[in-house]
């Protein structure tokens, strides 16, 4: 090796060492801080974001993604501070690295392929702390759609927001509005329904979307399972006497449904194997799904004027008198289905009389046999 070569190598070596030292000088405090944060998560989140904000507070900050779109990478620190993850958080404020990881400047990780892919990947950060929700999420339709490649499906931040997360249920109608951002048609139907109208009038009891569908573990509502279970779902409120008293709604609806042909069958499917589909009607087949109207209102599917059409959705040949074969949700009496009431009464009398008569005759036969047994013995 010549001296010249040696000098060149030495210079290069010194250069590299200087550069590395300079880099460490700049990066070290953040790295140390980040490692501390990671090891201590989630109990000791960090609130010092000053290093990140050197760049990310710039409102024009963007990154060009592979698909040609620009990803805005700016953060308003005030927004984060005022969110549930700000310093008002009982467990302390969250810092950038708590969610975004420690791939600090100059960001070695490759850029996401699209802004949407980035959003979904970033949502994974929520799972670090929100363990229960994550477990439920794994059973839910939105998560499974994403896993199966539908990136339009909702991730955590689509419903909750990212830096500006606020309590999701204050006010309560915010819950349904959140779902309505994607499920617009369903939301419109719901908003005009008896439940939706009451919700937006401030009723604290009526169901929002999540009361029927669940929150993170939302089940697919078109399965046999959901259908077979649905009467019990409605019954959680509609068989609750205390709750229904406020609205003057009968709680006999569920019991009367179960004693009817439809309800008996569905309940048996539900208890034997709820995954087997049945064609017997459940609550929402007659009352409607999201557009449930008050039972006696003009646009209700179950008032007398509309009932035949409703029956015909499953019984296409139904005759004009067919709807009367449904007893309704009130017990039969002399006023409501008197024929059924009287037939029942007839048998309530006939059965004890006939069977009682038989038992009486049998009893006399037994008496004779006992008497004969004793007299026979005494004769011996």
């Amino acid at each position: 090796m010549s001296r010249l070569h040696f000098k060149a190598w030495l210079l290069a070596g010194v250069g590299v060492v200087l550069l590395a030292t300079g880099y460490l000088f700049v990066a070290m405090p953040v790295r140390v801080h980040a490692q501390e944060a990671q090891s201590a998560m989630p109990s000791e989140p960090t609130g010092d974001n000053s290093f990140c904000l050197v760049c990310h507070a710039d409102t024009d900050a963007t990154a060009m993604l592979a698909d040609g779109t620009q990803l805005h990478v700016a953060v308003d620190p005030a927004e984060l501070e005022n969110s549930v993850h700000g310093s008002g958080n009982e467990q302390g404020a969250l810092g950038c690295v708590d969610c975004h990881g420690t791939d600090i400047f100059p960001h070695d990780s490759p850029l996401p392929e699209s802004a949407r892919a980035y959003t979904i990947r970033a949502s994974l950060a929520c799972t670090n702390c929100h363990v229960d929700q994550t477990e439920n999420l794994a059973d839910g339709v939105h998560y499974s759609a994403i896993v199966n490649g539908n990136l339009n499906s909702a991730s955590c931040v689509d419903c909750h927001g990212s830096h500006n997360i606020q309590p999701p249920d204050e006010p309560r109608e915010k819950i349904s509005e959140t779902c309505g951002e994607c499920h617009t048609t369903t939301f419109t139907e719901y908003r005009d329904s008896v439940h939706g109208q009451a919700l937006f009038e401030g009723d604290p009891n009526v169901p929002t979307c999540i009361d029927c569908h669940g929150v993170h573990g939302i089940q697919h509502p078109t399965t046999a399972l959901f259908r077979n279970r649905s009467p019990e779902l409605c019954a959680t409120c509609h068989a609750d006497t205390e709750l229904m008293e406020e609205y003057g709604i009968s709680t006999y609806v569920f019991e009367s449904y179960l004693t009817d042909f439809h309800g008996t069958t569905v309940q048996l499917f539900n208890q034997e194997d709820p995954n087997v589909p049945t064609n017997k009607a459940v609550c929402y087949d007659c009352h409607g799904v999201h557009n449930i109207a008050e039972a006696n209102s003009e646009n209700s599917r179950v008032i007398r004027e509309n009932l035949l059409d409703t029956c015909r959705t499953c019984h296409p040949d139904a005759s004009a008198d067919f709807p009367d074969s449904w007893v309704g949700h009130f017990p039969p009496s002399l006023d409501n289905h008197p024929l059924m009431f009287l037939v029942n009464l007839f048998y309530q009398i006939l059965i004890p009389v006939v069977v009682g008569g038989f038992l009486f005759l049998i009893a006399t036969d037994i008496i004779r046999r006992i008497r004969k047994m004793f007299s026979g013995r005494s004769a011996e």
């Binding site: 409102t59 024009d60 805005h72 700016a74 339009n152 509005e177 309505g180 951002e181 994607c182 499920h183 617009t184 048609t185 939301f187 419109t188 697919h220 509502p221 078109t222 259908r227 008996t264 069958t265 048996l268 499917f269 208890q271 034997e272 087997v276 589909p277 064609n279 009607a281 087949d285 799904v289 999201h290 499953c314 019984h315 296409p316 040949d317 139904a318 005759s319 004009a320 008198d321 067919f322 009367d324 074969s325 039969p332 289905h337 008197p338 024929l339 059924m340 037939v343 048998y347 006939l350 069977v355 038989f358 038992l359 005759l361 006399t364 036969d365 008496i367 004779r368 046999r369 008497r371």
Partner: protein, 376 residues
Amino acid sequence: MAENVQSHPATPVAEAQESYKRFGPGQRFEHIVLLVTFSGLALTGLPQSFAEHEWAKVMIDVMGGIESIRIIHRILATILMAEAIYHGGLLTYKLFVLGRRATMIPGLRDIRDVLQWIAFNLGLRREHPHLPRYNFGEKVEYLAVVWGTVIMVITGFMMWNPIATTNFLPGSAVPAARVAHSAEALLAVLSIVTWHMWNVHIRRFNRSMFTGRLPHDAMEEEHAEELDQILAGQIDEDPSPQTIAKRNMYFFPYAFIVGTLLVLGLLFFVTFEQTAITTVDPAVVVQTDQTLEVSADEGNAETGAAVWASLNCSECHGDNAQGGEGRLNVALANTALSFEDFVAAVRRGPADMKAYSVLDVSDLDLAHLYAWLQSQ
């Protein structure tokens, strides 16, 4: 017992036998059909009637689920109805061709027999009543089967074909039929487990329905009057072969016509109505990818400008949608997005943009907005 035999009024001309013929093979076969169908119908029917009870659920489960037991129930009902048609034909033949006496018809004497039997049982009478070929207990059972079958067939038809039923009866007849069907079934089963069980299985195991013959002492106790007649040689004789042949000329065409009509009626009963659709489409509830009811053509650029202003879009997207100065500097003028994608984007709120629901802006307003953007 011996004193009872001595008290017979008729003078015996025939030898007393160990047992007497009671039922022919045809009757015994009919009984087996009835036994099987009745038990099967009860086993598959009662759990449906009492479906809310745990034992019923277990039974339904064991028999393959509610839909299977409904099919089994209907098959057995069809067999029972066919048996009823056969029985009716046979009965007509016996009464009108062979000229047999209708020994099953109850009369005042049966009331007398019951009262005497009770008195005898309670020790108020020394002798048991001299009961005829079919005693009061058997008549009650037979009539109960006839009555029960008629009720069950009529109410069963109404439940099997509710739409056809409501064409000629008020709708409320269908649930009334359901109540009657269940209650009548309960009555029938309770009668069988009390009266029938006691009389032919417990107080004496009466095998005559299977062997065809009844022993002398049972005849003595339960059919003393018939026994007297047999011993006195009073046996019904069939008419002469010529008479039978002559009567058959009337009977068989009649039986053929009525039988055919009844069998057709049965087929109608069983196959006529498709009450409900077989599968219910799942309720359409997932509409993330819904089709817009509004088209881009409906948009009006002038109205769109007002929508643009009212939603304050320019704050981010700049005046005239040429792009803003802030983070959201996406130019929208003459956007390349299709109307559908445009609406989807507004509804979802891409990147940091707020999502606009239908509460904020209607689809039609978005059409106006889109028209305005295209005009810029």
